[in-house]
Each structure stands twice: as C-alpha cells, then as structure tokens.
Symmetry: C2
Subunit: 100 residues, 2 copies
Amino acid sequence: MTYQDSLTALADSTRRQIFEHIARAPSAVGPLADQLPVSRPAVSQHLKVLSDAGLLVVEQQGNRRIYAVDTNGLKELRQYLDTLWDDVLGAFADSFEKDD
Amino acid sequence: MTYQDSLTALADSTRRQIFEHIARAPSAVGPLADQLPVSRPAVSQHLKVLSDAGLLVVEQQGNRRIYAVDTNGLKELRQYLDTLWDDVLGAFADSFEKDD
DNA sequence: GCCTATCGTAAGTCATGACTTACCAAGATT
DNA sequence: AATCTTGGTAAGTCATGACTTACGATAGGC
C-alpha cells in the first residue's frame, strides 16, 4: 500500500518483467506465464505481491482475471523519488552556504 | 550501475534509511551507524551496495569517508519510472481505440 | 451433467542476503 | 613511535522469499 512495498515489489527481476508486460498491455495470468521462464503459480504469487503493493488492479472477466496497472501506486513511487531528489538539491544548497 | 541495482538497493528498509540520511546531508560512516539500530559494519556493507548501484559517491577526507548522493543513479531510476508511466498511458490509449 | 480451461492456495525446498563478531589497515593525535 | 579513531573485509548464522509440484475452486463449452 505504500511506496516501500512498491520498491520491494519492483526489486525482483521476474516481478519487474511482469509489471512491464502489464504496463504495455493489461493481461491475464496464463499469457504472462507463457512469456516468462517461471511456472504459472509463480506468476500468480508475483501478481499478488504487486497487487498488495498497490501497483496492479484486477478485473474479473468470467473465467479469467485481467491485471492492469494501478496508476496510484506508480504515482506514489514517483513522488517518493521526487522528494528524495528535492532533499538532495537542498543538501547541495546547504553545502554551498557552508563553503562561503 | 543500472536502475535495476538501484531498485534492489532501495528495496531494503535499512538501506533506504541510510540513503535518506545522506540525501538530506552527506555523512561519514560512524554518524550513520549511530542513528541506526544496526552495527557499523552492516552500514559499511549497505554503503557498498548503494555505491555499486550508482546511488552514492565517496570522498576520502583523511581518516574518514564522506558519502554523498550520486545524482546520476537517482536520475536513471526516475527515468525508468517515467518510461513505465508512459507505457501505461500508451496502453490506456490503445484500450480506448479498441473499445470503439 | 461432464470435461476443460483458468487461476489461486498450500506445503516444501533452496538460494540469497542482512546481520553479527572478529580482524586488519591506515590516518590522526599526543 | 605508541595509541586511538575510522572504517572496510572475512566468516558464519539465520530469516526471508522465489520457486516448484500438488491440489481445489469456479466459469465456459459440448
């Protein structure tokens, strides 16, 4: 639910590949597993982690489950990096003051 | 050296705290360890991971080593998220076309 | 109603990595 | 030069988590 969960979720290589696939086009579980070197249950588990992190949303379509990107999670993660970036800029400014 | 290493580096809670401290103000190893619930060697190891990921740079000052944020690593990570974001927007556009 | 397709969950295995203590190297201090 | 400070490295322990196979549950097709 937070940017921290998003970071740990996207830190895993397989999970990142899954997320990138879904980012380009929402998908069901089966097709994702076909394009990856891991089993379908593994993909299911990764999808759960990504969903719990707030990075994906699911839409049940009859038999299948279509996963798509939850923009809120991605937005929160980008905001976190923005604040880090601002902190760094602030630190630079402080160092210039001290150098004088 | 890549955004992937940056993600795994920032996925760890302790490492994230270290990075946030340094983002606000560059620091040596000892002071960092004092503010964290882990030992100094642990901090050293984390700093190595963050440096290898391209997120930190070191400046040797006599006895001490001052760690500061390497903006290149942070920039690369933000760019990666930007491309993801663009992919998602593109996917949305595609879905609208198909819905028509 | 039966069979197939789709997918989540349980249980177990195994590798990775975060942490500790112990040690060593090099600069600063007296 | 002896000592203290600072910090990186080695070795070992332990928990986490990524993966597998086996199973169960639900929806669709014949």
